[in-house]
Symmetry: C2
Subunit: 368 residues, 2 copies
């Protein structure tokens, strides 16, 4: 069941029901503007990742500032965007199984839809779906540029797969997907530079080898919020796939030299118990705020530490300063923005203490 919106436009923030996902619109817009300004001089385009925001509304805000389109990880996310008017979508991931591929091919009638592959059998399956739907689908070769997860080896293996794609009447070779996910959160700039230095080198070599076989890369995509400046400066990547930059989170804030964006996303929580001395319990546990990358922080209250999360409770320790009142509302900074957003049906957009808008999180739960 879809949950009811926890607020109405015009309400004061203190009146919003909790837990709620707050979006500080001034900070969001500043982040969107900053990314556009940072990328403009590089000539590299932004294809923002909708796995984070899951919202056609935010996709359109990004495209109004120059983003060429959107990335997604799942067909369900691609559907939510295409149905919301997003014209250019890359599934930056493998799509396996005939039912999902049929949905993907059907979408190609209303939007430009590209997808990745790292296996010749997968290419055959995409080809069959494209042929059945009467569409031609661009397919990118995903290479493993250091994350050790998906992707063929850079170099000859990638070239062979690209040739297999280019040989199909129902497909088109779309370029390379070369994203180093785990590099985004390496703590020091030197670690991130080393990881992306390797990614750039193997990607550059593969692009060269493809060119020697007459295969041009329309897209060379990768780069997240933690490293995008490196990929953008590489001269190899043509598109950046950052998503978290719009919101930020406590994990990105732990990077040394963190990304130059503001925290715009919060979980608003209510203090529901003050029965134990030195403790304030809030109504947002790990069902309400993702803890896979660490516990949330309490915004603007340095003396309060979110010390443990259970399903529906967050236990805050009062380490300094005044304890919050029973019923008081607190802004939590999520440990990890993407999975936190995916728990909610609505963004509550606030500006200077007032609710300005409610936006549906259209691809909430779109895992398939």
């Amino acid at each position: 069941m879809l949950q009811s919106p926890p607020a109405e436009p015009g309400m004061r923030e203190e009146e919003v029901d909790t837990p709620a996902l707050l979006l500080d619109l001034d900070a969001l817009e500043a982040n969107l503007d900053s990314m556009a300004a940072l990328l403009a001089p590089t000539g590299v385009k932004l294809r923002a990742h909708a796995k984070t925001h899951k919202s056609p509304v935010i996709a359109h805000l990004q495209m109004a500032r120059g983003a060429v389109g959107q990335c997604v990880q799942k067909v369900g996310e691609a559907e939510a965007l295409a149905w919301g008017g997003v014209p250019d979508i890359l599934v930056s991931n493998q799509v396996v199984g005939p039912a999902k591929l049929a949905r993907l091919a059907a979408l190609a009638r209303i939007a430009r839809i590209a997808v990745c592959a790292d296996d010749a059998a997968q290419v055959g399956a995409i080809e069959a779906a494209a042929e059945a739907a009467g569409v031609r689908i661009p397919v990118l070769v995903e290479i493993d540029c250091g994350a050790g997860r998906c992707g063929v080896a850079p170099g000859p293996e990638a070239v062979a797969l690209a040739e297999r794609i280019a040989a199909s009447r129902h497909l088109r070779f779309g370029g390379l997907q070369s994203y180093h996910g785990s590099a985004q959160h390496r703590r020091t700039p030197a670690e991130r530079e080393a990881a992306i230095g390797h990614a750039v080198a193997v990607t550059r070599r593969t692009v060269e080898q493809l060119r020697q076989r007459g295969l041009g890369c329309e897209i060379v995509g990768g780069g997240g919020t933690g490293t995008f400046a490196l990929e953008a400066a590489s001269g190899v990547y043509t598109e950046i796939q950052a998503g978290s930059y719009a919101f930020m989170d406590a994990d990105y804030a732990r990077n040394a030299a963190p990304p130059p964006f503001r925290q715009s996303l919060f979980v608003l929580a209510t203090v529901m118990s003050r029965a134990l001395a030195g403790v304030a319990v809030v109504d947002a546990g790990h069902k309400a705020v993702a803890v896979d990358s660490g516990l949330p922080l309490v915004q603007d209250r340095p003396g309060l530490r979110y010390a443990s999360a259970s399903d529906e409770h967050g236990k805050l320790l009062v380490e300094a300063g005044e304890a919050p009142r029973l019923g008081e509302k607190l802004r939590l900074v999520p440990g990890h923005c993407d999975p936190t957003i995916d728990r909610y049906d609505w963004y509550v957009g606030v500006r200077q203490g007032r609710v300005e808008c409610l936006w549906p999180i259209a691809a909430r739960g779109a895992m398939a």
Copy 2:
């Protein structure tokens, strides 16, 4: 947006789209029967916790086997159950804020709704909501029996709060809520016995002191899947609030002398990449299976280890035996059942390899 069901009745399990939340109906029914059989000789009733299953369908299966009603943690969960015909619901938690209390009081017109309190100001707020709605609401005093989270101190503080409730024309003193959450996962029986021994002692003392003031406890509630046999044997508790017993998970399986129930809940995942030697990547990361209590296990495939979860990917290491095929579907045992269920809109009920039913997870995301 509500997600489409990933299957249809009659399909073979291999045809179910992934990620999907599978419920093995034989195992589920065996678990429901076992709990009923285990509690019957004690005379203690089951008030199963719907924070786990979030489904009126499963609530009715539990009540058909003797459960007196259901527990919930949130008003939204109470609404989903009451709207689904569950007649007797205890919010085993504090409810703070006038909007939530108004919804709670409104529900008292169509079901028996009780709630907990651990603060006199909260009691006043519940009283105001009950008066405004023209209903009389039973309120239980939550005591801190060892978990150190919510709840007043056992003994005189609890008695004073009970007297405040009993003095109200719009409320009724409903008894004691005395749940020791963290004891459920203490690994050895001796640790669990020590924790619940303490909980039983302070609860018994409080019940006695209430009796001396003429206050009887209609409900003395507590006990989860890890410890319920101890509370049921105590002679003090009247209701058991287990929820996970219906499903089980990898964390409960790590208890020494684990609870006597079968694993009925699985996340069905598809192998989406086999590009890296010794690795199989599945399409279920931590958005699809909760990792707050540890990573999932791979059912029936001891040589495969789910080694790391990112947002949309699970990385499996092939440590022994045959590697799974690209496209192969695997059953994952969630690390933690409650938050995993809360990620999905549908249970896919399977029996002996066939889809038998689809049940909506009506309180999915009901955090408020």
